[in-house]
Amino acid sequence: MAYRSRLAYLLSSPACRLSAVKSAAVTGNVVPSCRREFSWWSSVQPAPRDPILGVTTAYLANTRPSKINVGVGAYRNDEGKPVVLECVREAEKRIGGRELMEYLPMGGSARFCELAVGLAYGEDTQVLKDKRVASIQALSGTGAVRLFAEFMKRFQPEAEAYLPLPTWSNHHNVFRDANVNQHTYRYYLASTRGLDFEGLKEDLKSAPNRSVILLHACAHNPTGVDPTPEQWKELSKLFKEKEHFPLFDMAYQGFASGDTQRDNQAIRIFLEDGHQLACAQSFAKSMGLYGQRIGCISIVCAEATEAATVKSQLEYIARPMYSSPPVHGSLLVTSILTDSDLKQLWFKEVKEMADRIIGMRVALRKNLEELGSKHSWEHITQQIGMFCY
């Protein structure tokens, strides 16, 4: 069968395309000027490979036994195999074969959100007691950041986003696709392989007041360089002066130091200082629930009514994106966090993962030094979390 082409005006020649699009805009009719064996889509180019996920694809295609994948941020055991946590397997058994698969509400599981936010902010925090936190279940960290980006675009369209340099590459994609203007602020100092604190402060000072500043709560991705608690306190004051909005991306709570209530220290410092902040949380790494896409976006509001309103608007953004989030991951997290035995087991397992990584850092540094390297490899053990820069 001969395939008749459609949309000749979107042909490969940019000139064809442009003239036809203009023509279409004027007359409302397509002028099929450059007709040939054809498709609407012939101008579609292959997208660039995702710089992170493409690495795993290439790794999988390689057949050498010596291969190592240190690309994607996904935890592996010492044999290089993915790990499903015991607490998760146990939770699976408990929820397997449950009766209902009805849609979650647009905001996802309320119980899950309550637990997630308690974990992120500290269960006793005042803003929770005052019901000032708007939160909805999100599609892991990416989805949470995207919801916030869309929300700020809609309700603070003049505000611009500042991202650390460097940051997780997908952050740039998220803000770009949400049509939010973005900038970077200095973060990593190559000469020390540490934090460029002076540069960071300068850049945040020179940013317009009331900018949205993306912060990695712990275990900065990709550098592994985190501010100290004292530096966080200083930043909190700076944010107050500049009326900046802190957006915390927390993808590694528990995974960084092994202690969930130490890894959220930055958030707690900012909360104590009274900031209205937001947190995009992911359970991908800390509970090993990567493929479940389970996370949470929470926003601290001025008071309870505002929080309810904000929540409804977040839901209103989620509805035309995916209607309601997937249930499975929320059931697993809820199961784990509401059962004291499973919760303790999780704490133990997440600490083990964090310890294994810390052990790896120590071993890698030691090996490099023993090989007689003159170079300083200190940064390997000074940096924290999955990644080493």
Partner: protein, 347 residues
């Protein structure tokens, strides 16, 4: 799946390969030339909504300014999806309140009136909210007009198998269009037909003219998905792949779908019988039998629908839509009473 103890690693951006293969084959038939020739780009999506949104984002990027025509009425969220994706839309006539059926002439006229190269959003089967589907002959005429006007057909397939009880029969419209060599968008959902509502499992499909194009389109779909949610949730995809990949489970599914579609047909019949028995005016209620799928557009107005709720405690949407999937045969008599009262006694 519990016994296999599979891991919980990230899926690739395009989702679970086994699922993508299964879903395209379910839609078109495994031996369809489109599949054999690799002319389809399939990306796992967040059920129907997510799959529609991904396609809409692609349309916004590659066909900026092109309008999508949606049926009047259509599923409410279609408008939200297109709005949030920044895609302009307008409506084509669909529901004829006089016949409580399809306004076919109006539909064709509006499609002909639209600028060439527009996009027409069609419900593959079991139109939501009306339950009114074109006949096969009408589908062919619709396809003729779409080809004449150089439009692109965009199918929302949320009820495959659920409408008639047969997966193949319900895919008839899509398959006929594909057989003509037309380029298509198809958004699929497994929420209803596999009851996987909360797992959010569906797919965005783009059918095109060459395998090379299909690959390029797929890569661009991925580029849109990555900043939305990185990669899709694994659980529902594994369930679908397992069900479709295991002949025993697949047979069980087919049987269960027949049961579900069958129950709805029975309940339609019961409601119809009750209405005819109770309504002595001779009004033609047969549209209830002619409509298909979960929903029935009763023709009740907004105030009449409100009466249903306020007086009779029957909860329905204001456009007069009732979900037969929510109706048990024991309640058909009561519902008939409510409908008759609302129809005749409320303006």
């Amino acid at each position: 799946m519990l016994e296999k103890g599979e891991n919980k690693e990230y899926l690739p951006i395009e989702g679970l390969a086994a699922f993508n293969k299964a879903t395209a084959e379910l839609l078109l038939g495994a031996d369809n030339p489109v599949i054999k020739e690799g002319r389809i780009a399939t990306v796992q999506g967040l059920s129907g909504t997510g799959s529609l949104r991904l396609a809409a984002a692609f349309i916004q990027r590659y066909l900026p300014g092109v309008k999508v025509l949606i049926s009047s009425p259509t599923w409410g969220n279609h408008k939200n999806i297109l709005n949030d994706a920044g895609v302009p839309w307008s409506e084509y006539r669909y529901f004829d309140p006089k016949t409580v059926g399809l306004d076919f002439d109006g539909m064709l006229a509006d499609m002909k009136d639209a600028p060439n190269g527009s996009i027409i959003l069609l419900h593959g089967c079991a139109h939501n909210p009306t339950g009114i589907d074109p006949t096969t002959e009408q589908w062919d005429i619709i396809a003729d007009v779409i080809q004449e006007k150089e439009h692109i057909a965009f199918f929302d397939v949320a009820y495959q198998g659920f409408a008639s009880g047969s997966l193949d029969e319900d895919a008839n419209s899509v398959r006929r269009f594909a057989a003509r060599g037309m380029e298509l968008f198809v958004a699929q959902s497994y929420s209803k037909n596999l009851g996987l509502y909360a797992e959010r499992i569906g797919a965005t499909n783009v059918i095109t003219t060459s395998p090379e194009l299909a690959l390029r389109i797929k890569s661009q779909l991925k580029r849109l998905a990555r900043p939305m949610y990185s990669n899709p949730p694994v659980h529902g995809a594994r369930i679908v792949a397992n069900v479709v990949g295991d002949p025993a489970l697949f047979d069980e599914w087919r049987a269960e779908m027949q049961l579900m579609a069958g129950r709805i047909k029975q309940v339609r019949q019961k409601l119809y019988d009750e209405l005819v028995a109770k309504d002595k005016s001779g009004k033609d209620w047969s549209f209830i039998l002619k409509q298909i799928g979960m929903f029935s557009f009763t023709g009740l107005s907004q105030s009449q629908s409100e009466n249903m709720t306020n007086k009779w405690h029957v909860y329905m949407t204001k456009d007069g839509r009732i979900s037969l999937a929510g109706l048990s045969s024991a309640k058909c008599g009561y519902l008939a009473d409510a409908i008759i009262d609302s129809y005749y006694n409320v303006q």
